[in-house]
């Protein structure tokens, strides 16, 4: 009975999301997205033909056995990946977003009141600070927060003990909506894994473990070109990170299975992108032999593995980790690398960031613009990765608590603006883009919640 209820609530949550997602403005998005997708496909195809590596091949039995025995330590493999290059990096995607234009919008060549001063030129509706204050009301100064009110100087009787007690009660009641509301004030470390699973309606049934085993079998049987891209990405990003390199093997186990998971294709119903298609060799054009490549329709880009890495701190069984990552991807992370007009889509986040900075730090914005350091060029990579790899892990998990709690990615744009506000004094003194990047290169010492609170609730406007 519980399984049925949670299945049903999951389906309802999905439907609500689809209804809430604002219209995908056909003209604007299809053109831009179409040409971007074509570019990615061309890049993948050319890699395939240049390196003479097939998009997919069936592994011989010997190789299958070898991979099965090494499944838990794929990180020890050192294949030659020098010829592979990531299909695209966030900065390429930023160029596409900068060039998004609405054909019905009066841009004009000369600067006028119509031109946006930032990089994004699409007039989407974004929240301003009064609306954000209302939306993020649980982050206000007179509400307790984990990340602020659990620091060593604050006696735990004031907030922390009570908050943990409520968290345990929420878990005991198995109330998903209450968990989502609870987590807005932060989640205690001990309860976080279960709370997130409760919010996302992930209950680990034996059939889920079986499904994961099936995906593992698929990985062992077929070798995809995308696998090499994943390997390269993990080696370049997560393996080099002080916090995440220990999870390298887990990342392979999750990401390789993720690209074989056809259930992810379901999210294209509310994503403006479409999965790349191909045909079985020799059957070009025959619809019965049309397949998607990769099977889950998602081509990883540079930094993709960083979406998984923070979850490794919470979940230790591969199939549970896999389920959580997959659900977080189809709910949140896909919006960070696809074009849409959704308020949590990356275009809206970029515009929100630029608007906040322009409105509340106009001198800083003007100065950075004058020296050729448009702020979005620096903060884009933070937002695309949801700050993974830039913040310290405990701070990152506090941030992702709020993403789950508010079911929205807008907090990423607010945090990006808050970081600029925090380092404003140093930034006003720089004279080049490189110097501005240097000032903002290291975010690992930042405390996320005080920054957000000050920017939203304590800045004099």
């Amino acid at each position: 009975m519980l399984q049925e209820e949670s299945d049903l609530s999951l389906i309802i949550a999905h439907i609500v999301q689809k209804l809430k997602s604002s219209n995908l403005y056909a003209q604007l998005e299809r053109q831009a997205w179409g040409s971007w997708e074509k570019r990615i496909l061309k890049s993948l195809n050319s890699m395939c033909s240049e390196l003479s590596i097939p998009l997919a091949r069936k592994r011989p039995v010997g190789e299958q056995k070898e991979l099965l025995s090494k499944w838990n330590e794929m990180g020890t493999d050192e294949p030659d990946l020098s010829l592979f290059r990531p299909v695209y990096a966030p900065k390429d995607f930023l160029e596409v977003l900068i060039n998004l234009r609405n054909p019905n919008y009066e841009n004009g060549d000369s600067l006028s009141f119509r031109t946006h001063l930032g990089l994004i030129q699409v007039p989407l509706k974004v929240k301003d600070i009064p609306e954000l204050k209302e939306f993020f009301v649980e982050l206000s100064l007179n509400t307790g927060q984990l990340g602020i009110d659990d620091s060593t100087q604050v006696p735990p009787e004031l907030f922390e003990n009570e908050h943990v007690r409520i968290g345990q009660k929420v878990l005991a009641e198995e109330d998903s909506a209450a968990a989502q509301q609870y987590v807005r004030q932060g989640s205690p470390t001990a309860l976080r894994a279960e709370l997130w699973a409760l919010i996302l309606n992930i209950s680990s049934q034996p059939e889920d473990a079986l499904y994961y085993e099936q995906l593992k079998t698929n990985v062992i049987q077929h070798d995809l070109l995308v696998d090499s891209l994943i390997y390269k990405d993990v080696k370049l990003t997560a393996s080099n990170d002080d916090y995440y390199f220990v999870f390298e093997d887990y990342l392979y186990q999750v990401l390789l299975c993720f690209s074989r998971d056809t259930s992810v294709l379901g999210h294209f119903a509310y994503n403006s992108a479409s999965p790349p298609k191909s045909y079985i060799r020799g059957k070009l054009g025959l619809e019965e032999y049309a397949v998607f490549y990769p099977p889950n329709g998602v081509i990883p880009f540079h930094g993709f593995s960083m979406y998984v890495a923070p979850l490794c701190f919470l979940y230790h069984e591969p199939f549970k980790l896999y389920q959580m990552f997959r659900e977080m991807y189809v709910r949140f992370f896909f919006r960070l690398h696809s074009i849409s007009s959704h308020p949590s889509g990356i275009v809206s986040l970029c515009l929100l960031f630029e608007t906040l900075l322009q409105t509340y730090l106009p001198q800083l914005f003007y100065h950075l613009r004058e020296i050729g350091a448009q702020p979005l060029r620096i903060s884009f990579k933070w937002m695309v990765r949801a700050f993974s790899g830039y913040l310290a892990t405990d701070q990152l998990l506090l941030l992702w608590d709020r993403i789950l709690g508010y079911n929205s990615l807008e907090i990423l744009a607010v945090l990006a603006a808050a970081v600029f506000a925090f380092r404003a004094v140093n930034l006003m003194e720089v004279t080049s883009l490189a110097a501005a990047e240097a000032v903002l290169a290291d975010l690992s010492t930042l405390k996320v919640m005080p920054l957000l609170q000050i920017f939203l609730f304590a800045t004099v406007t």
Binding site: Y25, N45, N104, E106, R114, P276, K277, I280, L284, Y289
Partner: protein, 213 residues
């Protein structure tokens, strides 16, 4: 409720502007579209459906056929209906909109002509209009069903006929059948809905290059 599309003739949009159109700098912010129904006699309007294209506010005036010999007058049936909450931003700019009879300010019987008045006060947009306009009248009513008499007036409880020899008690049989049915329902309910999700075709996943369509 069924609905039937009514063929219409849309006269060209007329832009209203203050002052001389040739010399002024700005774009017109008001456009008027006349919709006539030459091939239909006056009908009762059920629904208007269209796709918005950057129109911020919509007003509709209707001219109805009056039975008396007075000239038909224009009546406003929808006043400043907001299509875009913020005229400067994209929200609502390309949405599909349906307007029903009950949202109108006046009775929509015997419609002769419609006039759509589109307003877009923001100077940011190059043009604005409504597209794919469709007008519906009420369709033929489905014939009212008469229930068979035995459904609406169930017969009073009768005495069960005496048992034939050798047959089991019908009460016990029906309760056993019910139990079996409950068991099958339980099994059906516990079946998982997760799909197997094969991505290959008959075990083969040998691909061409990716297609660009």
């Amino acid at each position: 409720m069924s609905r039937v599309s009514v063929p219409y003739h849309m006269k060209g949009t007329v832009a209203l502007q203050v002052g001389d159109m040739r010399n002024s700098q700005g774009r017109p912010g008001v456009q008027v579209i006349d919709v006539t129904f030459p091939s239909t006699k006056p009908f009762e309007l059920q629904e208007i459906m269209f796709k918005n294209y950057y129109t911020a506010f919509l007003s509709i005036r209707v001219r109805q056929d009056t039975s008396m010999h007075t000239p038909a007058k224009w009546v406003t049936c929808l006043r400043n209906y907001c299509l875009m909450p913020d005229p400067h931003s994209e929200e609502g700019a390309q949405e599909y909109v349906s307007l029903f009879k009950h949202q109108m300010l006046c009775d929509m019987a015997r419609v002769l002509e419609l006039r759509l008045i589109l307003r877009q006060p923001s100077p940011l947009w190059l043009s604005f209009t409504v597209e794919e306009l469709q007008v519906y009248q009420e369709g033929p009513k489905s014939p009212s069903m008469t229930f068979p008499k035995w459904l609406s007036h169930p017969a009073p409880c009768e005495q069960p006929t005496p048992l034939l020899e050798g047959l089991p008690d019908p009460g016990r049989v029906s309760s056993e059948v019910q139990q079996m049915w409950a068991l099958t329902e339980m099994i059906r309910a516990s079946q998982t809905s997760t799909r197997i999700g094969r991505f290959d075709v008959d075990g083969c996943y040998d691909l061409n290059l990716l297609s660009y369509t």
